[in-house]
């Protein structure tokens, strides 16, 4: 039996003003696993804080949860900042009933003296809650057990619904009345989104369910609802805020009952490091120093493997020439195949592969350490002066490794205009493939200006 499971990573890709996250997926990644003789198909969704926003990754996540026909959705939350992540949990529970909450990073929480009462959280949320430490396999198998139970309906989650202000509940009901009951999506959730009149939702519904909806009816009810809300002094633009307020109110109450802090200053060491990394005096010098170190290691360190590879390819070339001579091949053929194709291939691999093999792991270390968002934070204001966003600092860093990867990474930028600017200017960052060429030209034309006598 094939059970489909959705795996939703909630830690976001990037920020521009606040604290850090480190989700890496921007599209969907799939995987299968075998657990207790059941094959599970897992889909990893983009990291997001909420499903209401309009960025690409959030739309992908939302579309998959709504229309992906999954048997179960796992929402992964960070134990160290549970309140903020419960926003996403509640939003997911509004879309689908088959939800499992996975409270991750319990070891980090323990280090900071944060204790999360998982049983109580389960009873308050109405859905299964599993605590995990992603590095320890034992905890993951408990998660998979719960997944199998939910998929086979041994456990039937009853998610807690967020009840909004009475007037909002009234207009939700009004909208729900005009939604066809044959739609497989939760009508309350759809009603809420239609009240917001999110065009993209309607086209997504039509596209994925291959039906066409009567937009005029929805528009009519929406206008009536807005009129009712305005009579009660809620502007149309404030509706979303009110909805999020209600959700956060529930989240706050739950967290008060469920989280116990043994230390009041649990994030002090993190803050101290942050204060140095983003300080006036040390912020930029540290950044430039790290960049210089990374490049120095890449360029100097790549010399040795380059030399080695170059020697090997040279040896093989001699052998090849010998073989071609032996079979009396015409000189034009030897020229094309050996002196042309093979030699070029050897040069390119020997020169370009070592720097890449060194740069990308270094970049990964920087990324895993969580330093990249601090770079974006430091440079954000400068980027804003250029009418773009601080997230571009991240795509530019990626561009040092490979421009193509940097350009693909630009999808983390929400605004289309800023995304275009980031894509176009990414080519001005020298990528690893261009380094050897740039260094050669610089040495030839400019290095000679600094010849020592």
């Amino acid at each position: 039996m094939l059970g489909k499971v959705l795996y939703l990573i909630i830690l976001p890709v990037c920020i521009s003003i606040l604290v850090i996250g480190h989700g890496k997926t921007v599209a969907n990644a799939f995987g299968t696993c075998l657990h207790k003789s059941q094959t599970l198909l897992l889909v990893d969704l983009p990291g997001t804080y909420s499903l209401m926003s309009n960025s690409v990754e959030e739309e992908i996540a939302r579309d998959y949860i709504c229309f992906g026909n999954s048997d179960c959705t796992i929402v992964v939350v960070d134990a160290t900042c549970l309140e903020r992540n419960l926003n996403l949990v509640f939003q997911t529970m509004e879309i689908t009933k088959q939800v499992i909450v996975c409270v991750n990073l319990l070891d980090e929480a323990k280090k900071k003296g944060i204790f999360v009462d998982l049983k109580k959280l389960e009873s308050l949320l109405g859905v299964p809650v599993v605590g995990t430490i992603a590095r320890k396999r034992k905890t993951l198998s408990k998660l998979l057990d719960t997944v199998c139970d939910v998929c086979s309906h041994k456990i039937r989650p009853i998610p807690k619904t967020v009840i909004y202000a009475p007037i909002i509940e009234d207009v939700i009901l009004k909208m729900q009345n005009v939604i066809p009951s044959t739609l497989p999506i939760d009508s309350r959730w759809l009603a809420l989104r239609l009240l917001d009149y999110n065009e993209k939702i309607i086209s997504a519904v039509e596209k994925h369910l291959s039906i066409s909806l009567n937009k005029d009816v929805f528009q009519k009810v929406r206008l009536e609802s807005i009129a009712i809300l305005e009579q009660n002094s809620i502007l149309a633009s404030e509706l979303k805020e009110k909805i999020v307020s209600s959700i956060m109110f529930y989240a706050e109450n739950i967290c008060k009952n469920v989280i116990h802090y043994s230390k009041s200053n649990y994030s002090q060491s993190d803050r101290r490091i942050d204060r140095i990394l983003t300080s006036k005096m040390f912020g930029f010098p540290i950044m430039l120093l790290l960049l210089a170190v990374v490049f120095w290691i890449t360029i100097i360190g790549a010399n040795y493997p380059s030399q080695f590879l170059s020697n090997i390819f040279g040896m093989i070339e001699e052998k090849l020439l010998f073989i071609f001579n032996y079979i009396h091949s015409p000189s034009w053929l030897t020229g094309i195949l050996v002196s042309g194709m093979y030699k070029t291939l050897g040069w390119v691999v020997a020169v370009m592969l070592p720097p890449m093999a060194i740069f990308f792991p270094l970049f990964t270390v920087l990324e895993d350490s969580g330093y990249l968002p601090r770079i974006a934070f430091n440079l954000d204001n400068f980027f804003r002066k250029c009418c773009t966003t601080g997230k571009q600092a991240l795509t530019m860093c990626m561009g040092f490794g490979c421009n193509a990867a940097g350009v693909i990474g630009c999808r983390i930028i929400n605004s289309p205009r800023e995304r275009l600017i980031a894509i176009l200017t990414n080519t001005f960052i020298p990528c690893n493939g261009r380094f050897p060429f740039l260094i050669t030209i610089a040495s030839i034309f400019f290095g000679s200006l600094f010849v020592r006598y």
Partner: protein, 55 residues
């Protein structure tokens, strides 16, 4: 009870959000993070590039 804009709020000074008057894009981001009316906030870091504004 004084009201500030976020940039006027000194570091480590706790405050309560009264309203969000901002660009749509930023408003959406703030809502996603759960920063709504009556949420307590404390600024803890200022970007160093802000200081270069004065130059």
């Amino acid at each position: 009870m004084k009201s500030f804009t976020l940039n006027q709020l000194p570091i480590n000074q706790e405050a309560v959000i009264f309203s969000l008057n901002c660009h749509d894009e930023i408003r959406r981001r703030l809502l996603d993070l759960g920063l709504v009316y009556q949420t307590k906030i404390t600024p803890i870091l200022i970007s160093p590039s802000r200081w270069f504004n004065c130059l």
